[in-house]
């Protein structure tokens, strides 16, 4: 083949065996990514199969986690995973929106880069550091000031009060959500900032031209224009929050119980896997249950991240 190329270079000037090899190699690398994802799903499913067989659909609804009786249920970790992630979103989205608004519309130009970098550095701090910092700094603050305050003021109100009861350990659902919120804040803020910048300047100029205030431009022009991508960014943050391990493990209290109080301890899929894994011998039903939990976590985060990607992509196309 190389001879042909040498004899008739004018016919197929760009053809060379190197091309075929290179194209094949990068294609195989691309396929490898698909293989990795499939292998993750399959390996977790196969590993969790004994647990799925032993407990059936009840695995999803059972609240027990009893290594002595060999009964393992996923309901509590699934609840903890969802509730902490959703609470984290509730706390993080207003902050992220404010930060993105500030960075795109309010901050002086020379100030945008350093502030933007600082917010992005917040995303670079390793998860374990958030966990440790949360455990030694946030937990005492929550236990000594925040939680007693809410228990005293809101704890006796009939319906809402149930959310603010129990002993103020400092750890618990709300503390985890708070740490998670700080961790996902930069991801959501960065996405929002990027999509806010895609709004054509002429739209904003027109709105300013008819006398709109900065806030009105944000609410009536920028937000409607970027609505879909903003939701995509929030979903990205949700996907991140669902799978966070180390930070949550330090501060959630690690108790297999569904608590109505925001201050109650709990666990998440990631935290129970990280904590229980060392005590799960290979081949045991417990290890299989942990792998089954991992499979469920993968399914949940895959769905959330897939939705996030689809929402963010529509923006790019249009």
């Amino acid at each position: 083949m190389s001879q042909t190329a040498v004899v008739h270079p004018q016919r197929r000037p760009s053809f060379s065996p190197g091309d075929a090899i290179f194209a094949g190699a990068v294609r195989i690398a691309g396929i490898l990514v698909l293989v990795i994802l499939s292998a993750i799903i399959i390996s977790l499913f196969v590993g969790g199969l004994p647990a799925f067989r032993a407990f059936g659909a009840g695995f999803l609804t059972d609240t027990d986690w009893d290594p002595v009786k060999q009964i393992f249920g996923a309901a509590v970790p699934i609840y903890g995973t969802l509730i902490t992630a959703v609470l984290a979103i509730v706390l993080a989205v207003p902050l992220a929106f404010g930060t993105a608004f500030y960075l795109t519309e309010l901050a002086p130009n020379w100030f945008r880069r350093p502030i933007g970098t600082a917010v992005e550095l917040l995303a670079a701090v390793p998860s374990i550091i958030y966990g440790m910092w949360g455990f030694f700094v946030i937990v005492p603050i929550m236990g000594n000031y925040v939680q007693p305050f809410f228990i005293d003021t809101l704890g006796d109100i009939p319906v809402i009060g149930a959310l603010f009861q129990g002993p103020p350990f400092g750890t618990g659902i709300l503390t985890s959500a708070l740490i998670l919120a700080i961790m996902i804040l930069p991801f959501i803020a960065a996405t929002m900032r990027d999509v806010f910048l895609t709004v054509p300047p002429v739209f904003k100029e027109a709105a300013y031209g008819v006398g709109c205030t900065t806030w009105e431009v944000m609410r009536s022009i920028v937000l409607p224009y970027t609505r879909v991508s903003v939701v995509g960014g929030i979903m990205l943050g949700l996907g991140r929050a669902l799978g966070e391990t180390m930070a949550v493990t330090f501060v959630i209290g690690n108790t297999n119980r569904i608590s109505t109080s925001l201050f109650g301890p709990g666990n998440t899929i990631a935290s129970i896997v990280a904590l229980e894994f060392p005590e799960s011998p290979a081949g045991s039903l417990k290890l299989s249950s942990l792998l089954a939990l991992g499979f469920l976590l993968f399914v949940i985060s895959f769905i959330v991240l897939a939705i996030s990607r689809l929402l963010l992509r529509t923006k790019v196309k249009s």
């Binding site: 290179f22 194209a23 292998a39 701090v125 030694f136 900065t214 991240l305």
Partner: protein
């Protein structure tokens, strides 16, 4: 504001102008409140960053002695340092990055240069983006399932593989983005000179995108250097000196995890030192990555 003042002077009676004045004041107030809230929101994020870094300095700097770098981890009460954890982290991060980077580079090249709207290309891009945000603990479980459990136990190699899987999508994303920024004219010039496509990619595009690709690699290193969860199930951690890749291997994040949760004061102190080292290392890498990218522009 001038628009509102003009509205006040318009003909149409005192009542109209009063209503217009009230309206404009209300809009101004909302605007002010929104602006203040946004500044506060930004401040909250910055305060958290400052609080974390401040705490690390406050609690970690005092324990930063030479022995941290010269001695291995020892039982509580007998001093010791973090040498084996630091070396273990370096080895696993370097090898993990070395495995993951070429693969990520090739995938990114495929997406930017060959995929062009093909089904396979879109699927690869989608899956890579999902992997980018997938819980890292699951990658640890995955490597445990396919590597640790069947091939005789926890090892440094398993840790490297887990980190490599995390590196790949990060490098893919930056490589594809950077290659797409390269002007078509540059590729056409290479083709016009008779260069085959692979040569134009390797010798022209890679070179032009070098800073961007280097940024991606630096960010990937920064990310995996602080990863804890995937190493718990792969390299496990090792409190003794070991650079044997087929044995369980220590790493800074896992050691921090073990020490921070322990009841011993000197271990907790060492955990803070380790946390200080890893955080400032990771943040320095991030800032370096940004500087590398900026030199290009």
């Amino acid at each position: 504001m001038s628009a509102f003042l003009a509205a006040g002077r318009m003909p149409g009676g005192a009542r109209d102008s009063r209503v217009a004045g009230q309206l404009s004041r209300r809009r101004g107030r909302y605007n002010l409140i929104a602006k203040i809230l946004c500044i506060l929101a930004t401040l909250v994020g910055l305060i958290f960053l400052a609080a974390i870094l401040g705490t690390l300095f406050w609690l970690g700097f005092g324990g930063l002695h030479l022995s941290v770098f010269s001695q291995v981890t020892k039982p509580p009460g007998s001093g010791g340092g973090l040498l084996n954890a630091i070396i273990g982290s370096l080895i696993q991060t370097v090898i993990g990055t070395a495995i993951g980077t070429p693969i990520g580079l090739m995938v990114g090249t495929y997406l930017a240069e060959y995929a062009h709207g093909s089904m396979l290309g879109n699927a690869v891009r989608f899956v890579s983006d999902v992997l980018l945000s997938a819980p890292s603990i699951l990658i640890g479980l995955f490597v445990y399932q396919i590597f640790v459990a069947p091939f005789g136990g926890f090892s440094g190699w398993a840790g490297c593989i887990a980190l490599a899987v995390i590196v790949i999508p990060i490098v893919v994303r930056t490589t594809e983005d950077m290659l797409q920024l390269i002007p078509t004219a540059l590729r056409e010039a290479a083709v016009a000179l008779g260069a085959p496509k692979w040569k134009s990619i390797v010798f022209i595009c890679y070179r032009a995108a070098l800073n961007g690709i280097a940024t991606g690699v630096l960010l990937a290193i920064a990310r995996v250097a602080g990863e804890t969860a995937p190493l718990l199930f792969t390299s496990l951690g090792n409190l003794n000196w070991s650079v044997d890749m087929s044995q369980p291997m220590s790493s800074l994040p896992v050691t921090i995890y073990q020490y921070a949760g322990s009841p011993f004061d000197d271990w907790v102190q060492l955990a803070w030192v380790g946390a200080l080292l890893i955080t400032f290392g990771v943040l320095a890498l991030n800032i370096l990555a940004r500087l590398v990218l900026r030199t290009r522009n």
